[in-house]
Amino acid sequence: MEVKELICINCPMGCPLTVTIDGDSLSVTGNTCPRGADYARKEILSPTRIVTSSVRVNGGTIARVSVKTRSDIPKGKIFDVMKEIRAAQLEAPVEMGDVVIADCAGTGVDVIATKSVGRA
């Protein structure tokens, strides 16, 4: 039996979680909501993160548009996703929710704009 201490990162509460791993079964305590139990399970079996960054916009009212992966991606893929985000460029206008990169770095997850940038 193995016991691991984690801190839930789903929201800023940061609940201290205790995960008990016993063979194939996994139990979680210390969470105050169901998200905590899901997070602990995932964090042990296959950790994921949402990646947020910004992409260059040409001809916009500001120079960068903020972006995020639409859902979480495997932690090990963060820098592959960043490589594509850093290479991307957009032309203004950009609408919040626009797909900036479809299926980023083979994760199956789109990178989308999180703000609107009008034309300068």
């Binding site: 800023p12 949402i50 820098f79």
Partner: protein, 425 residues
Amino acid sequence: MRYHDIVIVGGGPAGLAAAAAARKAGISDLLILERDNVLGGILNQCIHNGFGLHTFNEELTGPEYAARYIAQVEEEKIPYRLNTIVADITHDRQVTYINREEGLVTIRAGAVILAMGCRERPRGALNTPGYRPAGIYSAGTAQRLMNIEGYLVGREAVILGSGDIGLIMARRMTLEGAKVKAVAEIMPYSGGLKRNIVQCLDDYGIPLKLSHTVVQIHGKDRLTGVTIAEVDADKNPVPGTEEYYSCDTLLLSVGLIPENELSKGAGISLNRVTSGPNVNDRLETEAEGIYACGNVLHVHDLVDFVSQEAALAGENAAEYVKRKKSPEAAAKPARRIPLSAENGVRYTVPQFLEADGMRDTVTVRFRVADVYKDRYISVYYDEKRIMRKKKKVLAPGEMEQVTLTRKSLEEHPQTERITIRTEVE
């Protein structure tokens, strides 16, 4: 002189939520004054996720969270002025502002809501020795340069202070290809949220050096490095522990200060601990009809709580304006009960309760003075303990709250003082 029912100073998360709530409470004559060229305040540059879980039950980035409130303001056609600086507010609610279109204008307000937010503690407040080379930024300035203006502020960075913006920037710079060598924190605990230590530092192997500070800044034109040393219990550097880090960038994340020059100008006294105005349970300052909410009142860690607090300020300001207009304008509630913070509780907001006009419930927010494990948070009416709740961990970086009910206060009508304290037993 032009008149508006409610004038809101600041169009960030607090100002937007206050405006939306005041409109919902039936006030149509509102005006938001914002000094930036867009609404949304600091959320525009907080492009990371984690906002809105309490408010919208989903995880949003800063700009997306702001967009929800901006949409409400636009839909409700609440008037706002951008690129507009408020120069002065008087005790009797005259507001003077300046912008390019109107010049210098003074208006009268039925009620004023202070929502100016806070600013970062600058390098000058730290007394760090050395030259003043380029490459030293407050974390929020670096955040703006990277996320809005599109500059990479440096390639090798050290961060002094473990406030949330510093932690977020450690990750942000790492993702953009910079090397963040260390985060030094003078206190024996982090000032930021636990989740940010996990996902911004631990995820990327960035060391957090607690009880360490920068003792020397190297470089004349551009920063070339910093010396970090361990500090003792009195926060004095321990000789022999100095370590040199070469870097071209130093970010400072050493605290936020509510921006209250306008409040002071209105003759409103500030709380020594929060640096924000003292307020009653309606979030009304000492100046009648002037309310405060968000980071200008006390620095929050979650925008969701800013929005909640600001909505309450908006509702109360609306109620005040309506009451003033009604013929049988009620006198101000008379019975005022002070709230005091003791034994590990640093402050409370509100600082006073107006017992006669109290709502059904009042949320009291506060921070603790140190990291505590397995302690109770207790509420006393005079000498009598009314409630307590056990907390596994309490930390200064995380705001806490308790809820007082009118019912329980009515059961103790003689109460002269409410005390909030931590207790081991």
